[in-house]
Every structure is written in C-alpha cells, then in structure tokens.
Symmetry: C2
Subunit: 349 residues, 2 copies
Amino acid sequence: MVYKKVGNQSVIFSEKPLIRGRGTVVGQKEGEGPLAKNFDIILDDDMYGEKSWEKAESKMLKEAMMKAVNRAGITEKDIDVMLSGDLLNQLMSSSFMARDLHIPFLGLYGACSTMTESLVLGSMLIDGGFAKNVLVGASSHFCTAERQFRMPVEHGNQRPPSAQWTATAAGGVVVSSASDVALCSSAGQNRIRVESATVGKVIDAGIKDANQMGAAMAPAAVDTLLNHLEDTQRSLDYYDLVATGDLGFIGKDIMMDLLAGAGLNKKMIFSHYDDCGTMLFTKEQDVHGGGSGCGCSACVFAGHLLKEMEQGKIKKLLLMSTGAMLSTISPFQGESIPGIAHAVSLEVE
Amino acid sequence: MVYKKVGNQSVIFSEKPLIRGRGTVVGQKEGEGPLAKNFDIILDDDMYGEKSWEKAESKMLKEAMMKAVNRAGITEKDIDVMLSGDLLNQLMSSSFMARDLHIPFLGLYGACSTMTESLVLGSMLIDGGFAKNVLVGASSHFCTAERQFRMPVEHGNQRPPSAQWTATAAGGVVVSSASDVALCSSAGQNRIRVESATVGKVIDAGIKDANQMGAAMAPAAVDTLLNHLEDTQRSLDYYDLVATGDLGFIGKDIMMDLLAGAGLNKKMIFSHYDDCGTMLFTKEQDVHGGGSGCGCSACVFAGHLLKEMEQGKIKKLLLMSTGAMLSTISPFQGESIPGIAHAVSLEVE
C-alpha cells in the first residue's frame, strides 16, 4: 500500500482522480452577477416551481448533480457513491436529493466548507480504489438560510454592511478513477486532476457576531493554507489561484492581512489569492459583505473555475471552501463561532 | 491500485484496518440497562456538569473520543483525522468537540446511521493509505433530541408506545492501519479488523409518522443487508451477529418480517439478527419502542459488541446503524421520512 500522507494534515493522491463532469444551478441574483455565463441553469424564480424554498434548494442540488453526470457522459447507474451536504437542519436538501437519485449516499456537514469536504472525501474514495465514479456536491439557498439562521425573509429586516449574502446555488462534480481516463477527454478541453488535499481543523478566533462570518472563518482558512503549503513544501505562487470559499469582502481582507502577517509576500498574495464570495457578485448587487453559503464555492468552482481550467487559463488551483460552525442555538448558549476550511489542489494535465 | 468494490454497493478492504481503541460515555438510564458494565463512563447527571444539554452531549462525545484514544495507547497528536456526527442542527456536539480536540475534522450527517458512516469512511481512509490512525464516533442525548425534534422536555408530554427513546450516549473508536499492527494487541484480547462495508441508499417507504421511526428505517436496513449479502455472496449466518442500529422493538419485528418475506430462513434470522435499540434497554425501563439516536449503536458497538469480539464471543459482526432522514421542518412540508443504513463487517483475527 502506498502511504499518501505528507506533513501533518495533507495527502498527495497517487492516482490523481479525474474531474469528469460538472454541473451548476444558480438563482436569479447569481445569474445577474459577473460569472453568469458559466452556469448551466439560471432560475427565473428562486422557488423553482416548488412549494417551499427547501424543496427548491433540494431540486437545484439534484439538477446540478444530474447535469454533472450528464456532462460526464455517464448515467446515475455508473455512480458508485454520492457525497454531499448543505446548510439545512438534518441536510434536508441533500437527503431528499439522495432519495430521488437512489445512489448510495454519504451525508456531510461542514457548514460552507462542504464543497471541498465532499471533494476531499470523494477523491479519497477514488484514489483508494473504493469507487470508479463518485458524485460530490453542495448547495445553499438565500431564503432557506435566512429563515433558518436569521430572520423570516418576510420581515425585510435590515442587514449590517458586514452581513454576507447566502448564495442561491448548487454545484455538482463527478470525480473518476484514472483507469477511466480514455473516457474523460472532451474535444479541445484540458483534463483536470485532483492532486492533493488538506483536511482542516476547527479554529476558534472567538468571534461571536453572526454578521461577521468572514472574520470567523478567515483564521481557519489561514491555518489550512499555511499547513498545506508547509506539508507540500510549496510557495503560494505554486498555484495560479488560491480561492477561499466564502470569506466575502471583509474576510478576504482579513485573510490577506493575516497571510502578510505570517510573512507571505504581499504582491504574491494580491496576484495569486481570491475569494469565491467576492467573485460571484459585484458590490453593486447590494450583497453587503459578499457571497456565502455552501453553494457559493460550489457554483464558482463547478461553473467558473473548472471552466477556466478546461480552457487552460488556470493550470494549478487550490480550492479552500470555508465554513463557520454556527448552530441555530449555539450563540444563545454563549458559544463563539469557530471556523473550518479544507483545501483541494487541482491541476491541468 | 487494487480495486476494492464488489457487487453494487460494497467494498472489501485489502489491508483490513484494525480497531485499536474504543470509548463510551452513557447517561443515567443507559447505565441502568443490561449493558451497563460495558461502558467506560456512566453519568450521575445527564447535564454532565455543563450549563446546557447540548454542551453536555458535546462533552460526552469528547470524553468518549479521548477514552478511545487513551485505550489505543496513543495521544490526540497521533490521530491523523477525525470523523463524527450527531443529531443536532449543524452538528453542534461534534463541531465543538472538534474545536476542543484540535484534530483535522470531517463532519458527517447520516441521522442515526452516523456511527457506521464514520466507520465506513474512517476505514476507507486507513485502507486507502491516507491516514494511520483515524478517530470516528457519534453521539446523541435524550434531552437535546427531544427539544429539537419533538417537544420541550419540561412539557412532560405523553409519548405513544411506538415512540423510541433517544439514547444519551456517545461512542468513539480508533481505526488504525495494519502497519501499526504490532502496537494493537492487548494482552489476552482478540484483534479486530474491519473487513468490508456497504454504503446504503436513501429508501423511502412513505412513512409519515415521526413516532414510527423503526418502520421508517427498517426498509433501508433490509435493502442494505440484502445488497451486502448479494455483493459479498454471503448468507446471513456467515455472521455470528447482524446488528441494526436503532430500529427498536417494532422496527426489529418489521425487519424480521421483511427478511423472511425476502426468503431468508426464519430460524436463521432469529439466531443471527438483533438490534442495538432493543439491547441497550430492558422493556421495563419504560423506553416504549426501544433505544434510538446516533449514540445508541455507537455505545452498544463501542461498549458491548467490540468487547464481545475482544473476548471471542462474537467472531464475525455486521453492524448496520440506521438513520431516519427527518428534518425539523420536512414533515410540515408534507415530506415522508426516508431511511438509510450503512453496514460494516468486522472480524476477529
């Protein structure tokens, strides 16, 4: 057996699992943002023809997953196992999606870090020889998140400028084994492989303000990134792009300050680092602190970043979805909001 | 690379990960049941010195995890990654446990199937060469579950006879790589290896009554078991014991009927099948339908079943924790309660 762990928290895949398919479904607002042309389905109505927002989110995830399967040129029957999660209590979106798709299912909860959590575990299942095709994904919905974590949307309550906008978005990705390599090359597209991964720790910076999610998550992202770079003996500019999940405008600034404080070159940080939460929306879209939610990095990754890789514009990517461990009752019990971030590196073949 | 999948849903581990340590913490009522002598810590007070039930549950999980690490003869620093989950919204117990233990963490949600979900994934991480020591576990608490899913405990509302009793219990297990084999033999104890696993599908039998969890989960358990037996070409009596997670008294009867209906020998079912939810409590303990919750199979497995294996009383075990995909709001939106079950087979060396 090949032992694949390097350093304290990272693994380097020996078989380098392939990204075989990808699919995205986003809401109306996300479809008016700068990345609109990269998404497969843009909703006219965030209810998506369903009777509740929760059912709409579940349907979005299902459609994104199915789109990824279709683009991979396979069917649900070819998927060995599916891993996904969302922000809803008891993973309502993922659970009912999994019921409808009837594929062996492992539910994950990593708050907004779920896209990379599913990608880390899915790639491990491929690289370890447990599956040939794995379907991974994550979703979030502005209205389901607002009413679960904050206020009934109908209140129309005022949000502070630091509050982030939960993306109404879902992303799905098919990860496949290298032995299926012949099947994975679309005409004129680069083939993308999962190269390494770093599992993050829960880091508590003591933030207690649920409207400061970026500040709560940035220290975890810094911890995971520095550990990843140390474990793999790489410099930040090894990657064309390091993308955090949903730190938003404020969290991104904190991240850059913390990285500079850790001794990283500021110019290098500016030219190699960005945050999906700042890429999904423009500031003019009135999203305050920027995008957030599992669906934020899920759709930016599966819609935009993987497309950039297919086209060779990005050759080496480190995706680090970021999550805030905020329960619906933990703040009332005096708990702070710890963060977590998992990293996955991908490279064009 | 060795391809480890067999049949449709199962894998057979090539390195056969070792069970290196196990730990359990249970509540007062669980400590008065027939398995009391097998648990490491029995609480006098289910608040466990904390200010809330949620904090108590998180502490129970942490202590069970630490007990498993201690019994394995290692420290937290030797654990490469930790996988766990619970029933609380946003995995409050696991998240804060992971913050305190400061070990790379992957959160899981599989309702009450989480113990086997964590064991399946943890064993895959070991067998795939991604880690040398993995810590897996799950927890539940009667009071946190009652107030989240049902009624404020203080109401003292009447429960129908079919309602199950969420176990106040936590279980943790250290799974390790075979290359550490020399370290894993305690005097006079059998060594236990994880042999195979089956990832379950979400199965919806259309049950809508949240007081009939056993009925909601039994069809998923039957589906996973029949798939496991077919994939591995085994008969039920290949195992000394097949143990479902928390079907309880009613669910167990349904399971036995369904298995008999599927053509399995009734006598064989009687002598080789049991349910952790019927083992944890006696009927005299006023638990109505029997035990349930992630902690039910977690503590019965880590406390009782693994001990029986160490002592050679059980040589081949199939553990199948069972989960009901019930959200706090899904029933109000007209959804039924689908079930899921994952299976892990273990054998004495």
